[in-house]
Symmetry: D2
Subunit: 366 residues, 4 copies
C-alpha cells in the first residue's frame, strides 16, 4: 500500500503538484549519522532541472531545496527528513485550454475519472515535476550507499527515436544536453531535436542505468525481489512503458548455453542476469534498460473529447519537451538508489548476522 510512498524501510513520501505552492518529500527511516546538507542535494536537482538546455521545457524553476527536519549539526538524526521545494514559475495561462479537454497520452482523462476532480495546471500531480523530490531523496540515498559500500550509480541515453547512441565514453554524460555517454552523436541529436520542435512533434527514448559495487544478497523472494522492485520503480517514472534487466528482451532469443552466466572464483564470465538471480543481487553490476514514450504534449492537433464527452481538438502551446527522456537519466539513477537502499536495510534486518563460508565472487566480469 504505497499511495505516494516509495519503499518500506527507507521510505519516501512525495507531495505536491506542478502549480501548487510547493513540492517535496519526507524521507523516513534514513540511518542516523550521515553527514547531510542542502549542498549534497542541490547539484542533483540541478542536473534534472528544466531550462538547462534549449531541448527541454523552458520553465524557469530554481528548484532550491530546503531541509526542514531530520538533521542536527550537519548529521541525520534518524528522524524524518523533509525536503521542500517551492514552486515559483507557474505560468497557469499556458494551460488554459487543458481544463476543458483531455490531452491524448496524458493522464488528464484518467485522473478526472478516478478522483472526480483534477488540478489541470501543468498536469497537476501527473507532471514530471513530481520527480524532483525523488531526485532529492535519491541524492541522500546515493550518499549513504557510496559511503557504506562504495556503490556507484550512473545512467545515460542509449537511443533517441531512431538514433542509437553508443556507450563509449562516460565522461561525456555531463558534457552534452542528452546525457549521452558518447561524443559521437551530439550534432546529429541536436539537429534531430530542433527538427522535431519545429514540426511540433516529439519522440521516445531509451535509457540505460547501472549500479556498480552492489553487495550480494539484496532482495527477498518471492515478493521483495530486487529486480521486481526495480521494475516497479522504473515503470512508475512518468512516460515509461518498458523495463528490462540484464539481457532483457534479448533473452527471448537466447539459448540456455549462452544466457546462463558461468561462475569462476575470479568472477562471473558474463552478465546476462543483469546482476540479479532469483530476485537477489549477485554482486555483479545491476543493469537496466528503460523505454520512454514520446512527450504527449505536442503542438500538432489531436482528437479528443471535452468535459461533456463531446468531440474536441487539442493542441498544446507553451512549454513542453520534444523528448521527455532527456531529463530522465537523473531520475532513473535516483530511483535505482532508492530501491537499493531500501533493500540494504531490509537485508540487514533479516540477515544482519548471517555468516557465509563460501567466498563471494568479485562483482566485475572476469
Amino acid at each position: 500500500m504505497s499511495g505516494s510512498t516509495l519503499g518500506d524501510l527507507f521510505r519516501v513520501t512525495n507531495f505536491g503538484e506542478s502549480h501548487g505552492p510547493a513540492i517535496g518529500c519526507v524521507i523516513d527511516g534514513c540511518p542516523p549519522g550521515l553527514a547531510l546538507s542542502e549542498a549534497d542535494i542541490q547539484p542533483e536537482l540541478d542536473r534534472r532541472r528544466p531550462g538547462t538546455s534549449r531541448h527541454v521545457t523552458q520553465r524557469n524553476e530554481p528548484d532550491a531545496v530546503e531541509i526542514l527536519s531530520g538533521v542536527y549539526e550537519g548529521k541525520t538524526t534518524g528522524t524524518p527528513i523533509c525536503l521542500l521545494i517551492r514552486n515559483t514559475d507557474q505560468r497557469s495561462k499556458d494551460y488554459g485550454n487543458i481544463a476543458q479537454t483531455f490531452r491524448p497520452g496524458h493522464a488528464d482523462y484518467t485522473y478526472l475519472q478516478k478522483y472526480g476532480i483534477r488540478d489541470p495546471r501543468g498536469g497537476g500531480r501527473s507532471s514530471a515535476r513530481m520527480t524532483a523530490p525523488m531526485v532529492g531523496a535519491g541524492a541522500v540515498a546515493r550518499k549513504w550507499l557510496a559511503a557504506q559500500f562504495g556503490i556507484e550509480i550512473r545512467g545515460c541515453m542509449t537511443a533517441i527515436g531512431e538514433i542509437d547512441i553508443p556507450c563509449d565514453d562516460w565522461s561525456q554524460v555531463s558534457q552534452n544536453p542528452f546525457f549521452a555517454a558518447s561524443a559521437s552523436k551530439t550534432d546529429e541529436l541536436e539537429a534531430y531535436m530542433d527538427a522535431l520542435r519545429k514540426a511540433g512533434d516529439s519522440v521516445g527514448a531509451r535509457l540505460y542505468v547501472e549500479a556498480k559495487g552492489v553487495p550480494v544478497g539484496l532482495g527477498a523472494p518471492l515478493f521483495d525481489k530486487l529486480d521486481a522492485d526495480i521494475a516497479y520503480a522504473m515503470m512508475g517514472i512518468n512516460a515509461v512503458k518498458g523495463v528490462e534487466i540484464g539481457a532483457g528482451f534479448e533473452s527471448v532469443r537466447q539459448k540456455g548455453t549462452e544466457h546462463g552466466d558461468e561462475l569462476t572464483p575470479q568472477g562471473f564470465l558474463s552478465n546476462n542476469a543483469g546482476g540479479v538471480l532469483g530476485g537477489i543481487s549477485t554482486g555483479q553490476d545491476i543493469t537496466v534498460n528503460i523505454a520512454i514514450k514520446p512527450t504527449s504534449s505536442i503542438r500538432s492537433p489531436k482528437q479528443s473529447i471535452d468535459l461533456a464527452g463531446q468531440p474536441a481538438t487539442v493542441e498544446t502551446f507553451g512549454r513542453h519537451d520534444p523528448c521527455v527522456g532527456i531529463r530522465a537519466t537523473p531520475i532513473a539513477e535516483a530511483m535505482l538508489a532508492l530501491v537499493l537502499i531500501d533493500h540494504v536495510l531490509r537485508h540487514r534486518a533479516q540477515c544482519g548476522d548471517v555468516q557465509v563460508d563460501t567466498p563471494r565472487i568479485p562483482g566485475a566480469v572476469a
Copy 2:
C-alpha cells in the same frame, strides 16, 4: 514490505519449498460472499501443472488443492482463505550434485550468500513450483473480477526462441502445449523443442497477457500506479527479464503524433498506452509483454564453483524444462488478476463515493 506477500488489500502470502511437505498461500482481504470451492481453483492449477505434455518437466504432482479456511457453506466469509497443496513427488536424488555447486543462471549462489543456508532440493524456494499457489489465488481473484466487472484475462506465447507466433486464433490456446493462440506453428514448435531437448539446451520465450473489461480509474499515483505494480508482479515471476506495457520498447522509436492515443466519444483510436495513463487504467485493454529467459538447468556442462569457492563443472540431470516459458501463461494471467483485484479494492477505498460527470469512453478501440 512484502517478503512473501503480494498485495495490500487482497493480500496473498505464499509459503513452501519445492521439496518440503507442502506449499500454499493465505489470501487475506477477499471480499465476503463470493461462491468458492476447490472446483473453482483446481482447473487453473491443472493448466499450470507439470507433466501435462512432453515438453515440460516430468514431475508428477497432482497439485490437489485444499481450502483450509475462509469459506462457510460455499461462500467466502471475508476471513483469510488458506490454500494448501501437498508435495507428493519429490525425487531428491535427481538433485544430489546440486548441493555442492551453484548452477549458472539459478539462484543457488544468491540464496546461499543471502541466508547462509539453502534448501537445494529442486531449487527450494526459488523453484517455479512456488507459482502454483499464486495460480490458485489468481483463480479466486479472477472469479470475483469476472462477477463484479466482467473482466476477462487471457495470455498466450508470442515467441519461443527465434520463432514468432501470431495471435490469430484464441481458441487454440488450450489446444496445443505451448499456449499459442494460433494453429499455424504447432508442428514447427514441437520439432524445435524436441531438438532442444536432445541437444541438452533451452531457449527463452515471450509471453503476451491482456485484461479486457477493466474499469477506468484503477491505480493511484505516484507509487501505487497500476502499470508499476504490473511490472513488479511480472518481473517477479521466475525467469522474467523484461516487461512492457502497451507499445513498450516500440515507444522508443515512435513519434508523439503516432503514440498518443486519440479520444472520441466512441472510444480511443489506438492503444499504445496499453490501457494505463499516468498510472491509472483508462478502461482500454491492459496489454503486457513479458520476456522469459531460457531455463538455467540444462544438460550441457557449464563452469561454476563449489561451496569452498573452487572451480567446478555443473550439468543437470533429471527433470527440467527446455523452455520454462511454456508454463508461464497461467502464471502471468494469475498475477495480472491479483494486481487488478488489489487495485479495485484500493480504488474503492479512496474513491468509492466519487461521482464523475464526464462520460466514460468505452474500452474497446473505436
Copy 3:
C-alpha cells in the same frame, strides 16, 4: 512498518523536531472532493496551542498552518496534502544543560542509545510539539467523518492527580483551561496547579474521549481490530501509560451477567464493550480512557548520568507544563478521528458491496 506514518489508507506521515525549521505532515489517501482550507484546521491547532493559559508551557508559537498541496479550488484532489507549520519561538538557551545529561522520564537517554545522536533542543522529536501536525490531520479527518456519517468526537479530562472531575456538562469543555466537562472543579484545579508549579513538581491525568455516530462494521480481525488500533494510537501519544476501552480495567471485577451488553431492537442496554466487539464497531459510542503520566521536566532536582555515564543532577528551568495532560484532549480526539477514517476506508475496500438483512441496532443505549 510505520516509522513516522500512522494509518494505511488515510496515511499521515509526520516530520519535524521541536526546534527545527518546521514541523508538519503529509496526508496521503484523503478521499477527493472534500471542501478544505486552512480555516478548517487552524481552530483545532489553536485549541492545542501552548500559551493559551498560565497552566501550560509558555512558548509562544502561533502554529500557523499552511496547506502546500492536495487542494485545488477549495477541494481535496485525492493527492497528498502537506500541512506545514513553521517553528518561530525556539528558545534553545533554555535547554543548554540538557545536552549533557538525560532527564529522568524523558526520552533523552533512549534516543541517544538508539540513534547514536540526538537533537536535545526542546526534546527534539520526542517533544509533545510533534502532536500539532496530528491535530491538523485530525481536523481533516473529522471534517470528512462528520460529513459522511455525522460522526462526532469529543474528549475531556476526568482526573488530574487525585482530583476526579465529573462529566456533567459538555458545554464547559471550552470554558476552562482544563478541558473539564464540568464547571464544578475549576477553582479547585486552578489552585492545585498553582501549588504544583510553585513546588516545581507535576502530576498525571486521566482523559476520556468518545466517538458517537460510528457505523457498525469498522475493524477487521485479527490484526486490524478497531480497539487494537485505538490502543496503539493512544499509547503512542506522548506521556500515555494506559488505555482502556469501555469498562476497561473495571472488567476485571465484573461478572459475565453484568458485563455482556444485551441487545434489543431499540438498542443495546449497556455499553461495557465501549462500542467494539470482536474488534469491530457495534454502532454504539466508542468510549476510551487514557492514563497520562506526570510531566518529566520539573524544577525539582533528580539524579541522572551524563554523556560519559557519570552521575549528574538534572533540574529543568524554563518552559514546561505541570500537567501535560491538559493539552492532550485535542490530541486524543485527533488520534481517534485518524483511526476511524482509516478504518472506514478499509471497511469500504473489503466490504463496500455487502448487503445485510439483519437490521442495525441504533447506536444509543436503549
Copy 4:
C-alpha cells in the same frame, strides 16, 4: 494494513476458524539459521490448550502442530514457515442455537453486520482458538530472542474477579491451573471458579506479563513505538479491554518527583516507565498489565435479537470457560515476543551500525 497479519519484518499471517478444517499461520521474515522443530513449539501450545484443567473449556483438541515449510535439516532457511494445526474435535451441535441469535458480548452481531455472512460454529474466526497459531509463532520468536539476547518473557494472573493474586513465587506458575505466581490463592480460586460454573456465570481477570533482558533502543517514534505496538498486540487479544505499561493508570495519581525513574551508572532507581521511554526501550524490564473481560458465553439467559431483528433470549450450553483469562497467559507472552522480535529486526535495519559512546545502564533496577 494488517488484516490478519501481525508485524512488519517478523510477519505472522494467521488463518483459520474454530470449526474449519485447520488453523495455522505463516511466519515470514524469520532470520535464517535458527534451529527449529515441532518440539520447540508443541510445549507452548500445550500450555495454552483447552482441556488441561476442569476450569477451562472441555474441548479435546490435541493442537498438534506441523511445520510445512521454511526449515531444512533442522534450521530455518529464512523462507516462510507455515505452522498447521488440524481441528479435530468440532462439536458443531453445541452451537445450534447461535446461528439464529447474537450472543451479548460476543462478536456474532458485528461479524454479520460487517461481512454479511458469518461462520457461527464456535465463534468462527472470533474464537479464542485463533490464538493458538500465535502461541506457535511466539514460540519461534522466543527461541530466537533468547538465543540472541537472553531475553526472557513470562506472565501470570494477578487477579481473578475480586481476588487479587500476589506475584511472590514464579515457580508456582506452572503448578496451578491459574498461571498464578503464588501458592497462596489456589484453593480460594478453585472454590471461586466452581461456584461460578455452578451459577452459570463468568468473571474477568487481570494478567501481568514482563520481558527481561531487552536491549535498549527498540522502538521507533512516532508511530513504531514499542509501547504502542505492545498496546495494540495486547488489546487485540480476545476479550482484552485495557492495557497498561509500567505504572499505567497509577500514573494519573503520581507526581513527577515520584514517577520519573532516576538514572545512575548502576541502573535506574525505579521502573514506572515499564521499560519504555519516548516509545523506545530503556533496557529495563518491560512490564505490562492487561484487563480481560468476563466470558461472554454463559448459561444465564440474556436478552438479544435474532436474524430478523426481533427480540430473543440467548443462553449458551456446551463448552465454555467461566474465565477466559485463565488461558491468556501463554497468549500474552507470545504476543510480547512477537512484538519484540519485530522491533529487534527493525532496529537492526535502521540503526545496525550505530556506535554509541555513552555506556548503557544495566537493565535491572539498581
